[in-house]
Each structure stands twice: as C-alpha cells, then as structure tokens.
C-alpha cells in the first residue's frame, strides 16, 4: 500500500522511525507545531489545504498524525480517497499509545505538562504563528514590561498575577520516553526544566504501537476513524472522540 501521511512535526522522530520499519510506502509531510496555537478554523484550513494539494491518484489513503487537537481537525473533509485519523484528544494519546491510558493518567494528574523529543526540539514558533496565536491575539502573551507600558504599573502588576497564576497550578513535567531516543538528552532536558521551575519530574514509558498500526494499515475501529470520500470529521464528545458525517448533512446544518 502507498500512503500519504500529513503529521504534526511533534511526531517527527516517531513517524520517521515507524515508516522506516513499515512494509508500506509512505510519503511524509510535516506541518508546524505552531498550528495548535492558532484558531481551530485556521488550523483546519491549513491541514485541508495539504489534503487538497495532494495528488490522490498516487495513494490508497491519507494518514494523519493529529488528534482532535482542540477541534483543529473538525471539518476535515475526504475528497477522493479515505482519511485515517487516530481517535485521540491530542498528541499525548498518540504518544502513550491509547486514549484510555491518557485519560486515566490525566485525571489523576491534572497539573502535568508533558514533554517528548518533539515537544523539546520542534516548533520554535515562527513569526507567522507568533502573530496568529490565540495567546497573542487575545493579549495574553505580553511581558511584564509591555504590560507596564500599556496599562501602567498598578494594573500591570494585577494583570501579570491574573494571567500567570494558572501556571502555578501546574506542578509536574512528565517525560514520555518512546524508546527511540538516541540517548537520555531529552529526559535530562526535562529534568532540568522541572528543577528550574521547582516542579516534580516523572517519566513514563510511551507506546509507539498506535503510530505503527496507523502506518501499517491496521486500522481497528476502536483506535482509528476512517473517513470515506464525501464525509467530514466531527467531534462526537464520546469515548471514541471523533466520527464522520456526510458532507451533505453538514451543508444542510450550515444553511440552517
């Protein structure tokens, strides 16, 4: 089988490794990690644009290295060949290998910030995403000096406290080791970050097998959504995260 894979660059090492091991031939296109910082509709637009730019006659399906990602893939539409998308809230499910494991970890550790090789070495935000990011656009990313300049000392102090205090509720860096790292550099980096922030450090073992099944074409319905041509992705707010609906019914809803 021959596939096109459109993936967030946060999976750079995992995707390259897995494709090298797969019987399938996979053409790979990475998109910037910064997409997750912009409005869902803009993220969707960028990804759909890469589907529409694909010569679909060359492939059996288009695979995705994305989860629901804050609804950033909601509306993604299959044209002539199927789209295959992991049923995942976000990349952490994909790193941990299944959504149940992610939810149980998350529910017990809401104050966790996850790190992986991709989260560490990928996605230094480009200028474009700096300007488009929701943080920037809503005025949430101003430095203390910028706040003082715009709103005066007294208000700046108040704003800084208000806008930064959510960070105090995070208390742990969890490093997900995928088992394909060259050495312990990423783990070390996470430990250092935790120490600097005064946070706890935890290491959990990732599970690359979900990515492997994606690439190998083993798409069981529990783990993957296969979107047939003429259908589009919607969030379904259930345990299986996403489903497909015919584009026609979507148009009727939009016209309502």
């Amino acid at each position: 089988m021959r596939f096109k894979l459109i993936s967030c660059e946060v999976f750079y090492r995992e995707m390259c490794y897995t494709i090298s091991q797969s019987p399938n031939q996979v053409d790979l296109e990475f998109l910037p990690k910064g997409l997750h910082d912009i409005k869902a509709s803009l993220m969707l637009e960028r990804i759909q644009d890469r589907i529409d730019a694909t010569d679909e006659s060359l492939y059996d399906a288009i695979l995705f290295g994305y989860g629901l990602c804050n609804n950033g893939i909601e509306g993604l539409t299959a044209r002539k060949i199927p789209l295959v998308i992991p049923r995942a809230h976000d990349c952490i499910t994909i790193f941990l290998g299944n959504k149940e494991r992610y939810l149980s970890y998350f529910n017990n550790n809401p104050g966790v910030y996850f790190k992986t090789s991709g989260w560490i070495e990928r996605g230094t935000p480009g200028k474009e995403f700096d300007q488009l990011s929701i943080q920037r656009k809503t005025g949430l990313e101003l430095s203390y000096a910028e706040l003082v300049k715009k709103y005066g000392e007294d208000n700046a102090k108040y704003l800084y406290e208000e806008l930064e205090k959510y960070k105090d509720r995070y208390n742990t860096f969890t490093f997900i080791e995928m088992g394909i790292e060259p050495d312990d550099r990423f783990e070390k980096q996470t430990r250092e970050d935790a120490e600097k922030a005064g946070w706890g450090f935890e290491k959990v073992r990732g599970d690359i097998s979900l990515i492997q099944r994606l690439i190998d074409g083993q798409w069981n319905d529990d783990e993957f959504l296969v979107v047939k041509p003429g259908y589009r992705v919607i969030a379904n707010f259930k345990d299986n995260v996403i489903e497909a609906e015919p584009c026609k019914s979507a148009e009727q809803k939009d016209n309502k």
């Binding site: 804050n70 809230h89 939810l103 709103y151 208000n155 208000e162 806008l163 995070y170």
Partner: protein, 210 residues
C-alpha cells in the same frame, strides 16, 4: 452628574483608583447606589463588552475594567445588601473537574458581575458534587460551567447529570462555555445557554432570566 460620567470612563479605562474615588464621592453626596450601578457601572461594562466583541479591547483591557468595577461594587454592595436590594440574579460559576484553567471563567464572572448579577465563584477543578452542594445551599438562578480542554468537557455533562440526579436541574439554568465548547455540545448535554464570548454570556443570562 458630571462626576458620574467620569466614573463610567474610569471603568472603561480600567482606572481602579479613580473609579473607587468617584464612587465614594457619589455615595457621600447621597446618590442612590442602585442608580450608580444601573446608570453608570452596568452601561460601562456593556461598553467594555462591546469593545471586546469588536476587537478594540482584548483580555487585559477586560480584566482591568472588571477590576475597576469590582472596586466600586465593594463600596456599593454592602449598602444594597443592608437595604435588602436584590441583584439581577445569582450565578454559581466554576471550571469543571480536571480543568485548571480560569482566565475565561474569570472574564465571564466579571462580565456577569458588571451586569448586576451576584456571582459565586467556586474556582477551578470543581467536582460535580461541589456544584450540587453549592446549588443546594445558595439557590442560584444560574450555574455556569467552563472547560478549556476537550478532555475535560465530559465533566460538564457529569455535572449536569449530577444536578439532575439531585433533583436540582429544573431549579437552575445552566450556561456552558470555553474554547472547545460549541452550541452543538451545549445542546447535546442539555445546557440552557452557550456563548463563545464573555460579553455574549451576559446577553444570554439576561435573556434566560426573564
């Protein structure tokens, strides 16, 4: 009252010190506190909401305007309470279980307060049973639920279900919001109102309380 127009301006500009001074002055001159709220504070926050909707104001401007308004209300509310004046309605608000984010929830709380509602803020990571016991105790008109993550959205449904099971669901209107929340989700879990912005939440609360 020239000074009171300046009070509106002070709130719109997020000048907390001035807003407090002008409010105290007005109270010293025996201006009716209810009049200060209805004619100056609420219209000022409505204007702040309008500017936010039009992208003239961003989150920081909203936060400092709300702060200025709260300073005024701190002087006014005890007087209103001692006279037995009723707020526009009572709202219990919180970010649902598992979710630690509160900027959006705080904005909605501030806008509702600025619109004359009494707001009881339960904070973040609020379990369904905490919402239930607060509703029992405080008997609000509204319960407002916030979530920033798709992973914590199911907590909204669990909270509504918990209210249903406790027999409290029909006693309150439920508002939901947060970045990943949509009208479709609100309908699906049986919420009464949804808005994609803090100022929009005020309009919905006003409409639903009639």
């Amino acid at each position: 009252m020239e000074n009171l127009k300046m009070l509106s301006e002070a709130i719109i500009n997020g000048d907390a010190k001035k807003a407090r001074e002008l409010t105290q002055q007005a109270l010293n001159h025996r201006v009716d506190p209810q009049q200060i709220v209805k004619e100056y504070l609420i219209p000022a926050m409505d204007e702040v909401g309008r500017r936010f909707e039009c992208n003239e104001y961003f989150v920081p401007e909203l936060l400092i305007a709300a702060r200025a308004m709260k300073g005024s209300l701190e002087l006014i509310n005890p007087i209103l309470a001692s006279r037995g004046d009723k707020p526009a309605g009572r709202v219990i608000i919180g970010t649902v279980k598992g979710d630690l984010h509160d900027i959006g929830k705080n904005l909605v709380a501030s806008m509702l307060e600025g619109a004359g509602f009494e707001v009881i803020d339960l904070g973040v990571d609020v379990a369904p049973e905490v919402f239930v016991s607060s509703v029992k105790e405080r008997e609000p008109n509204f319960v407002a639920l916030s979530a920033l993550l798709t992973t914590t959205m199911p907590s909204m449904k669990q909270t509504i279900d918990a209210l249903q099971e406790s027999g409290l669901r029909e006693k309150v209107k439920i508002l939901v919001g947060g970045a990943p929340v949509s009208q479709r989700y609100a309908d699906e879990i049986g919420a009464d109102g949804y808005s994609d912005s803090a100022s929009g939440a005020v309009g919905i609360a006003r409409r639903l309380i009639l």
